[in-house]
Symmetry: none
């Protein structure tokens, strides 16, 4: 901030609280378990408006814990660890933390009470002979563990104002201890530094990152940076542009309104299919349930993936009646009623065949809507007219039918993904009467 700008308005800026996490244990680094706590915490902190500064996975080793603690305390206000607080020999977190802050481990009656309480919630009793949970670093705080036995371990370092909290590794215990025990402590120790955090997500399709920012809208990135931190994320059928900013709900709504205006007046407008963060299968299912409409699919090149994406969602059986996977031409004829002459005259990947496939599915499943997919996922099967990556998406309702042709890049798997998302997006537009 230069002196020359001293007269201009500068909003009071509270730097967001920073959190670093250390996941302690061998199981994730040696491929036995997929991480759940880190990815859960990333979502939780974002919602709470805290900045997730860094996430480290290390082995249950004293030196490694010490190094990770130092680095985390340097970069963040709050350090949360998961794992290594159990009663066995390979659980080193409690002792390492005590050493790190040069605290002695002593027998503590107050901690014994908490441990007794933790056991009691499972109808079990605890005695000091069972383990050493009640041996605890002096000046540390123990918390309840609402879904487990080992107490949470907390220390607030007064001089540097750093809050260190160690929770269990078991995901259901970890998430609960963070919500019920750790978060209230963050609110207490950092009451003066709390603020809310918002995002505007612009979901586009059919246009590459380069094309958006170098060709269509060369000033968009800097225009959006006036609102907050900008990032762009390649997704299945297009690029998501994400603007993150602090403020209250009112400010968020104002910023989002202005961002939308910028986009609607830009060359990107026609490529935006959603302001928000929802998956297209969820949007389809919710809309169909809301409208009380049923649908079905006839899939060729996507080979069942479109149906699978819908049936990933609980509740889909109320509106999704089923689908055909008609890979072979005979199946298209025998099961969907596609005319042999249509196949012969136009080929399987054509507006005409896709339309007849959609009509076939609509009639066989007696649904309100039907979507068909016929294309070339590759790597072989392309022609000059219809190169690999060509897909035709057909649609049918009682009143209308038709199809649209697209070309997608990628390899076989990615094309299947893209064809499927485009099929679901077509169904969404069909239900919204945008087709």
């Amino acid at each position: 901030m230069s002196d020359k700008n001293a007269s201009s308005f500068v909003p009071s800026f509270v730097p967001p609280l920073k959190v670093s996490m250390i996941v302690i244990g061998d199981e994730i680094l040696n491929g036995r378990t997929a991480d759940l706590n880190g990815s859960w915490l990333s979502k939780y902190l974002f919602i709470k408006g805290l900045e997730f500064k860094a996430l480290r996975f290390i082995h249950d080793d004293i030196d490694e814990i010490n190094h990770a603690l130092s680095a985390s305390m340097n970069e963040s206000d709050i350090v949360i660890t998961s794992g290594g607080i159990g009663p066995t020999i390979d659980d080193k977190t409690k002792n390492t933390l005590a050493n790190f802050f040069q605290k002695k481990i002593i027998e503590r009656i107050d901690v014994a009470d908490i441990v007794t309480n933790n056991y009691a919630q499972f109808g079990r009793s605890w005695t000091p002979e069972q383990n050493r949970y009640h041996f605890f670093p002096e000046d540390f705080m123990a918390t309840n563990n609402p879904r487990g036995l080992a107490p949470g371990i907390v220390y607030f370092e007064e001089t540097k104002k750093k809050l260190v909290m160690a929770g269990p590794g078991v995901p259901r215990e970890f998430t609960e201890i963070v919500e019920k025990e750790f978060y209230p402590l963050i609110q207490k120790y950092f009451a003066n530094r709390f603020q809310e955090n918002y995002q505007t997500v612009i979901r586009t399709m059919g246009v590459s990152e380069e094309k958006i920012f170098f060709e269509l809208c060369p000033t968009l990135w800097s225009d959006l940076e006036k609102f907050g931190k900008v990032s762009s994320l390649p997704q299945t059928i297009g690029i998501d542009i994400v603007i993150s900013y602090h403020g209250n709900l009112l400010e968020h709504e104002k910023a989002e309104g202005e961002i939308k205006k910028i986009i609607q007046n830009s060359a990107l407008a026609n490529h935006v299919w959603q302001y928000g963060n929802r998956a297209v299968n969820e949007m389809v299912l919710d809309l169909a349930i809301f409208k009380k409409r049923t649908f079905s699919f006839a899939e060729s090149c996507t080979g069942g993936l479109v149906a699978s994406k819908i049936t990933d969602l609980s509740g889909s059986s109320s509106v999704f009646m089923g689908g055909f996977v008609t890979y072979a031409n005979e199946a298209k004829i025998n099961l969907l009623g596609v005319k042999p002459s249509t196949l012969e005259n136009f080929g399987a990947v054509s507006i005409e065949v896709a339309t007849e496939m959609a009509i076939g599915a609509l009639l066989k499943f007696k649904t309100d809507y039907a979507i068909s997919i016929s294309g070339i996922a590759g790597p072989t099967g392309g022609t000059l007219d219809r190169p690999v990556g060509t897909v035709v998406i057909g649609f049918a309702t009682k009143n209308k039918s038709g199809a649209r042709k697209f070309l997608f890049p990628g390899d076989r798997i990615r094309r299947k993904e893209r064809f499927s998302e485009m099929a679901l997006l077509t169904l969404l537009k069909l239900m919204n009467e945008e087709i």
Copy 2:
């Protein structure tokens, strides 16, 4: 190593190569995306016999990348990063790495060739006006990106013998670049510290880790440890037991033969479905092509996922004729010819209905084999008799038909995965005449 043991035989011990990984990018720390690259690399390194020392998630920020690089190079021989190598302003990895090693970024013709090549594999052309991929740190090495556009970035630091490799964030691109480009470089730069590393993988199904090692085969773990490092990994439908050992190919083949003998004589024998590391959809497709046999599916609860797994593979159209997704009971009746009385008497999730579904698919698609899947993926829909997680897998050929019932744990998505793998495994056994 004490002097007292100096006379005993000590095999020459080469300390394992250590790898640290840095995942760069905001999308994981702010909760938008779940990590896939870190967890994939943990499994990959394990298989390759390298030690995964630490995994860090940081923001796309110059200071953070610098800190993480220093720490990673201190603790490991090899540093792999993912993310931040794209063409937009928030991709900072290339510049930061150049700075870190005090290298200038220059326009490089050799890198332009690699970029051109990367674009060409998608049928696209590249010109220097599109982006700055060809501006590259001097003395660095660029690699192909077999599934993407941005070249991989590699630097070998001669004095400390550290290999730093930066790959893309997109999981499909990352895994491929590690396998095809980075791993051969590790072999090259650390040839003297590389031991040939072999594995025997025993893939089991239908039995838990505890049951295998505490009940069925209590001495198995220690018996296998005579051959090398033993570990067990829970997979979709069962436990993989992995024995890793160093040595040459001949020794490997001998060890594998002996291991197989041990397993075949154990109580685990009936639960083993593969010695090796192949995916079940590949095994099904290869066998069907080899036997020149066709197949089809009738899916209820898996909702198209079984068909989608097969159609993920190029060449599937020669043997996979198609499938039904019959979510609704009417569809089972109208399209597959399941008798209403069978549905009424036995319920949709029954041996009887699954058998009729398989026969229906066999007749409609005129295939040599058909497999059906009917079950309860949950979270709702369970009963006392048929709890959530119950699945019946039916099968039919010209000569025989039938079905088998299973119960799988997990959530909805995981159950769909498990049901689907079991369906493919059933088809494999059917083709092998093991049913």
